[in-house]
Point group: C2
């Protein structure tokens, strides 16, 4: 007979920043009733995932245990927390709970992927409680860089878990509820078993700054600018977009929002009543008529995304608007590691136009949405949990966060994706390791990260591709010579002759020397042709291309 236990299992987001998915369970071993917190995505890059459109956590374990899943909770509407709900819901089929702004976005995503939007349930903040099997769950308002972020207060028979979601401590957050130390203290009062806590900024040692410190800086900058002002930030940072718009209006400028994602975020905020007083904006059509010194654009593309408004403006005219000498472009954002090249190329394009680019290197025009180390320590102190479980971070963040907790005498552990923890006792214990990984959305098809598809793409990109075709009759005799096509390889090699000619010549010689046995054996024949092609290419090019051999047999 097994006794009930409380488990925690990250399927994504622990050991990386992105694609958050955390499972909690309570019940007898192997029969725990489960809830899922967040169902996010992460984004591909050319280095490791060329051609991939979106990356999901591998949810197989949860899908196999979907009958035990009571509910899905989504902490906030960033893509790394909500982005997978439309794609993955059909294999989980549990009710989804979120606060209004997040629910609004989740419903859109369900719709986009043919999942039932009425499975998304809007929940108010604490003290409203959602009952999910053995769990009572409430949304605890936290400050972050998107409206209505929620931590979760998860009560189970084994005690209270506080799952912070992404958070900072901001007493003047511009949009949404301020950090409320009294409410937090009240949550902490009955005792907190585990604080499962955002680790993103654990290496930032200084006190974090409030969102409200940005507005005055923006006002000063815009007032001092003479030409058109164009500013970008994360589309979902509604508070920042509002601060930018207010600063523009305060400087006597008409403000125009450019970029679908940004307009959708503002619409959602207005619809759910988060920003009752968003400044008046004008349409693109009207913006074209406004003298540039009276105009401010707020645009998408803070990360240098090629199709976003910032990049389009950097390439020239966009929707009839263009930048020129004397204008100012502001990045009210930080560059996420990996996006540097794209951002820098936009800055240089603007430089060529004579546009003055202001970025956040001065630290005045952007603040982070995550708690720095001093705020993390303050959160630990307030909740005073039996254990701190670091999440939402790469390994280095989790490890450092665990050290910070342990330095104050709290139990902690580094648990990366797939590590099932038993939280029942006074210290976290590893209960099991679950196989996890990544799933790619590739065009409209889902593929496994280890299927070899992406590996082959990378190899073609690094090595080029040779296709060798040969027709063999049933004597068996080759009908004509081997034929070579190349892609991603130079036409002329070291010898000065055409590469395909050299290859075909070498392949012909090999084929002509072959005996009937080899010619009859597909595997041997293909192998011989492949090796010859690689060898010849290597001699000519100093590299070994990928080779596909196609033998057609006539009979």
């Amino acid at each position: 007979m097994s006794t009930a236990r409380l488990i925690y299992l990250p399927l994504g987001g622990a050991g990386e920043i992105g694609m958050n998915a955390y499972v909690y369970g309570y019940g007898p071993k192997g029969k725990e009733r489960l809830i899922l917190v967040d169902i996010g995505v992460t984004f591909p890059d050319m280095d490791s995932t060329p051609g991939v459109d979106l990356i999901f956590p591998d949810m197989r374990w949860l899908e196999e245990n979907a009958d035990r899943l009571e509910a899905i909770f989504i902490t906030h509407a960033h893509e790394d927390h909500v982005g997978g709900v439309g794609h993955l819901w059909n294999k989980l089929k549990a009710p989804v709970y979120a606060r209004a702004f997040t629910a609004y976005h989740a419903r859109h995503k369900m719709n986009d992927h043919g999942a039932p939007e009425d499975e998304i349930h809007t929940v108010s903040a604490y003290p409203e409680v959602v009952k999910a099997g053995p769990f009572d769950v409430s949304f605890l308002p936290v400050s972050h860089s998107i409206p209505e972020s929620g931590g979760l207060v998860i009560d189970s028979p084994a005690g209270r878990v506080v799952h912070t979601g992404d958070f900072k401590l901001d007493e003047t957050p511009v949009v949404g509820e301020a950090f409320d130390p009294e409410l937090w203290a009240k949550i902490a009062e009955p005792g907190v078993k585990a604080l499962v806590c955002d680790s993103t900024n654990v290496f930032s040692l200084n006190e974090g700054r409030s969102e409200s410190t940005v507005g005055p800086e923006l006002k000063g900058l815009i007032q001092d600018s003479s030409g058109m002002v164009v500013a970008t930030t994360f589309a979902s940072n509604v508070a920042r977009v509002q601060s930018l718009a207010q600063a523009g209006r305060a400087a006597g400028r008409s403000v125009c929002l450019l970029g679908r994602a940004m307009r959708r975020m503002i619409e959602a905020s207005v619809k759910v009543g988060i920003i009752p007083d968003f400044p008046t904006t004008i349409s693109v059509e009207d913006a074209r008529e406004v003298p540039r010194e009276n105009l401010m654009l707020i645009v998408t593309g803070s990360q240098g995304e090629r199709r976003a408004a910032s990049a389009q403006l950097a390439r020239g005219k966009y929707l009839g608007l263009s930048m020129k000498e004397g204008d100012t472009f502001l990045f009210s954002s930080k560059t996420i590691p990996g996006n540097e090249r794209g951002v820098i190329s936009i800055i240089n394009a603007y430089s060529e136009m004579g546009v003055d680019v202001v970025d956040d290197s001065s630290g005045r025009y952007h603040v982070s949405g995550h708690a720095n180390r001093p705020e993390l320590e303050r959160a630990h102190d307030i909740f005073n949990p039996e254990m701190v479980i670091p999440m939402h971070g790469e390994h280095r963040h989790l490890r450092q966060h665990a050290k910070v907790a342990e330095a104050k005498g709290r139990a902690s552990i580094v648990a990366v994706n797939g590590t099932m923890l038993d939280l029942t006792g006074s210290k976290p214990k590893v209960a099991d390791y679950i196989e996890t990984g990544r799933t790619y959305l590739d065009g409209s098809v889902k593929i496994g990260a280890l299927d070899g598809v992406v590996r082959d793409r990378i190899r073609m990109a690094l090595n080029g591709h040779i296709v060798v075709t040969l027709i063999v009759d049933d004597e068996p005799e080759p009908l004509g010579d081997p034929w070579v096509e190349i892609k991603g390889l130079t036409e002329m090699g070291r010898s000065g002759a055409a590469l395909v000619d050299v290859l075909e010549e070498d392949l012909s010689q090999v084929v002509n020397r072959m005996n009937a046995k080899t010619l009859r054996d597909d595997e041997k024949l293909e192998d011989a042709l492949r090796r010859t092609a690689r060898k010849s290419a290597s001699d000519e090019l100093g590299r070994k291309p990928e080779v596909t051999v196609i033998v057609s047999r006539l009979s």
Copy 2:
């Protein structure tokens, strides 16, 4: 009759950081006698240049005018200044001048590529003069992050040009000559027409720090470390390697250098007499026997390079050495933009081992080799030139540097690669635009950046590759059905059937409906097959792969 003029033409390095190559000329228009300053390379990345090994400036203009080229001067031994000399010399065939340390490396590079190493001439610093046609050229010692960096004092009948090379102002540089304000004042005395000036750190507003400030910080860190200490920096930063080794020895540790590039740099420094007193180091074999708390490794791979020692250690054992819990890994370096992902992945690998990673986020363990804005302004003031020509920078750096110069009333201009300036008058004038670009070393073959080879690789990486083969006899009738091979594409599409089956079925239908005219016309036939394959793949996968069609005709 045309009068003589003094021209400046960057072929690389102006509008980018990397592959420096600057031409100066003096003489009648179109008949100027020329010198080349630096002949560097830049490095490929997966985003834009997958599979490429090295990138050179397109030197066609200079090759076509090689008969006018008097000499090549190399300012220092960084790859972006000297890296092209072995590859490109044979088409230029002019004598090469450099100071001893740089010449040592240049000779190796000539040897490696079958170019005559005796064309590399070692020159002493100012006041030694090299006569090169109408030019008298001297090497002015400057501080940088590699030994024996030289600015160039270039005297022509039209006046003196000072070409700074990469430089900072360091009065205590640890290795090599200190910044010598008196010598600089002496160079400035006859009047300087143009200061052609490094722009790398124009956005760094604080006073730069001396290399000598790093040593004490390193000593403190190493003394406070308990396990093995492993430190990385740029292999060519000999002063830093020496400071690291001294700090290790001062902390009572045996020091071992790991990584070929680093050992080669130290050997070269010892050989040319730059570092007479490099601390004693031990071999890898001996290092294996030293207790880890008494051992320090100095390793290559500060940029996360996959094959360097730092990455090898992050993957496990390397040459019998491995890191473990309680050890310290130090990045005494900054991460060059674009390399973040590789560096972060190493840090996380070390975190998994329990190794404490220290990077330069505190600003204590690394200083830049380039002049910050205050030092740039000081250099402007000392040389007090008629004009400042910003070089060695992306467009944003050049533009900002020109602004800094103009703010003090000096003439300046942004001249990117291919912009020929006439410096004869009191202000720089654009004289011409020369077509420039990039050449790729791809395996052992040089290819043009616009040849389409790399474009095809990127497309295969993003879209995958389908090969369609069809055999047609001379009726013309298809012999058998079209055959499909895929690479970099998932085996199963949206319909749940094998992708190749779906494609072959669709292609067969199209082929069966074809009339003899189409079957006879290679272009039409291939086009129809390609379009069908793309359409079917798009239906199945939601993406449009690259398609190669091979029609074999039997007759």
